[in-house]
Amino acid sequence: MITPRYTREIPQRYHLEAGKCTECNFIAFPPRLICPECGSREFEQISLSPSGKIVTYTVVCVAAEEFSTETPLPIAIIETDEGARLTAQVVDCDPEEVEIGKRVRLIFRCIQKEGLAGIRQYGYKAVLEG
């Protein structure tokens, strides 16, 4: 693992840290230096709500090597309650239960193990609500 590369992403991956544009309220996840909507460079630091809904999804059956033992692996685009979007695995469910529009909650989990030493990398995954 390239430690600095992983460490830099911790605020986003562990705490869902995002930037909210002080001019137009665009939410940048991960944080950005300039707003793609209005060009403002002023952001307020926020943490995304861990609740949201599935915009679209798939179930990956042929995965990259790091995930090859986890197939079938449901993954979705999720829109948080603030309107920010991200890609995350949907876990603790039957793949058949994953549907567009369903509500989910983001939780803290191990995402993958990297390298021969199997160093764990953490971040957010989604679980179905209700």
Binding site: E9, P30, P36, V55, T56, Y57, T58, V59, V60, C61, V62, A63, A64, E65, E66, F67, E70, P72, L73, I75, I77, I78, R85, L86, T87, A88, Q89, P95, I100, I111, Q112, Q121, G123
Partner: protein
């Protein structure tokens, strides 16, 4: 910009070319294009390649390939925009000739993908590494996001997706350069291995070795060569957010619409004037969405259009007469150049069994990643 023509084309067979190293594949395609054009020199060259570094651990290939083409000394530039690298290489050549900087430029593309590298991993670098690939999404997975959204919104069916692959294999069966020059059935597609719901193995373009090249010249040079001339009417290019989730509507690929809008405006044409198109069918759903973005079919109607034969040879607007990426093969850096070659052959009237009778105006659409880059060219045959 002065007017620009394509006067020579050349490509290798597409497939698993174990006997050919990257440098020879490119050189073979380039020499064929140079001979076809009948030019005695080139002023400069562009090379489209997505990831020679990951696939064969070789960067700096613009100079390497100029050397092996026997033209070391001329300016040679590598162009990278994932799977749109080839189309973008052609665009750079068009701009350079159009601007009057050079008169004769070679634009080529190459990818050597079957030397044993994990292609899923290499191709995934075209997606956002930290916010997409990190979570386990693959390229088929990203297009499956689009497919599920399209099916949910418009009622596009699994059968309609399969019909894209069936059509492109029908076309590819007529193309001796294709990796898979044979027909397949709807049942075969729908029973093939599941890759990422709802996309199956036969919805996906293959991993391919291959190279393609064209010669781009000023009209003055083109007219003196005495070869069939295909004029470049327009070159549109657009970009978008790399992460699919950063775009508002996953049933669309906005960079395609933007690049097309630019190109149609440059050419002074509307989509109805296009007589055939080579589009980026890296996955069956990609061809469907792209035909909507290009304005060939109404939004949401692309599935119906493919199943009713509107986009097949003999239909209203034949799409991917070469077999497309699906059947012809998808050596990523070469694909955009090979699209141009198919349209040039069609406009010259030399496409053999795949010929669209009397075709005069054709379009190519090449895109990178899940649609974060797109290049559209419109070409006209001059008789």
């Amino acid at each position: 910009m002065r007017e620009v023509a394509i006067v020579g084309v050349g490509m290798t067979r597409f497939g698993e070319l174990w006997e050919s190293p990257l440098r020879n594949m490119f050189t073979e395609a380039a020499l064929t294009a140079i001979d076809d054009a009948g030019v005695d020199h080139i002023d400069s060259m562009y090379v489209g390649a997505m990831s020679s570094g990951l696939f064969v651990h070789q960067e700096h290939i613009a100079s390497l390939l100029a050397d092996y083409l026997g033209v070391a000394g001329i300016p040679s530039t590598r162009v990278e925009s994932a799977c749109a690298s080839g189309g973008l290489a052609v665009r750079q050549a068009v701009i350079e000739v159009g601007a009057g900087v050079s008169d004769i430029v070679l634009a080529g593309g190459v990818e050597k993908m079957t030397d044993g590298v994990d292609a899923i991993d290499a191709l995934a670098t075209a997606a956002d590494q930290e916010y997409e690939a990190f979570h386990g999404i693959t390229f088929p997975g990203l297009y499956a996001f689009i497919a599920n959204a399209h099916m949910h919104r418009y009622g596009t069916t699994r059968e309609q997706l399969a019909d894209v692959a069936v059509k492109n294999h029908d076309h590819g069966s007529l193309n001796p350069k294709a990796q898979f020059p044979f027909k397949i059935t709807r049942e075969a597609v729908m029973n093939s291995t599941m890759v990422a719901w709802p996309l199956r193995l036969l919805d996906c373009s293959p991993v391919t070795d291959g190279a393609a090249a064209v010669i781009v010249t000023s009209m003055d040079v083109a007219e003196k060569l005495g070869r069939p001339i295909v004029k470049v009417l327009a070159s549109g290019h657009a970009t978008d957010g790399l992460a699919l989730h950063s775009r508002t509507d996953p049933t669309t690929i906005p960079a395609v619409g933007r690049a097309a809008e630019i190109a149609f405006k440059q050419a002074g044409l509307t989509p109805e004037k296009i007589e055939l198109a080579e589009v980026h069918d890296c996955f069956t759903i990609a061809e469907l969405v792209v035909t909507e973005e290009l304005g060939f079919v109404e939004r949401g109607r692309s599935g119906e259009a493919v199943s009713s034969g509107e986009t097949r040879l003999g239909g209203r607007i034949p799409v991917n007469t070469s077999g497309g990426l699906k059947a012809k093969g998808h050596p990523v850096g070469a694909s955009g150049v090979a699209q141009i070659i198919e349209v040039v052959e069609q406009l010259r009237g030399s496409a053999g069994d795949r010929q669209v009778e009397g075709a005069r105006i054709g379009l190519t659409q090449n895109m990178g990643g899940s649609g974060a880059s797109c290049v559209v060219h419109i070409l006209e045959g001059v008789s």
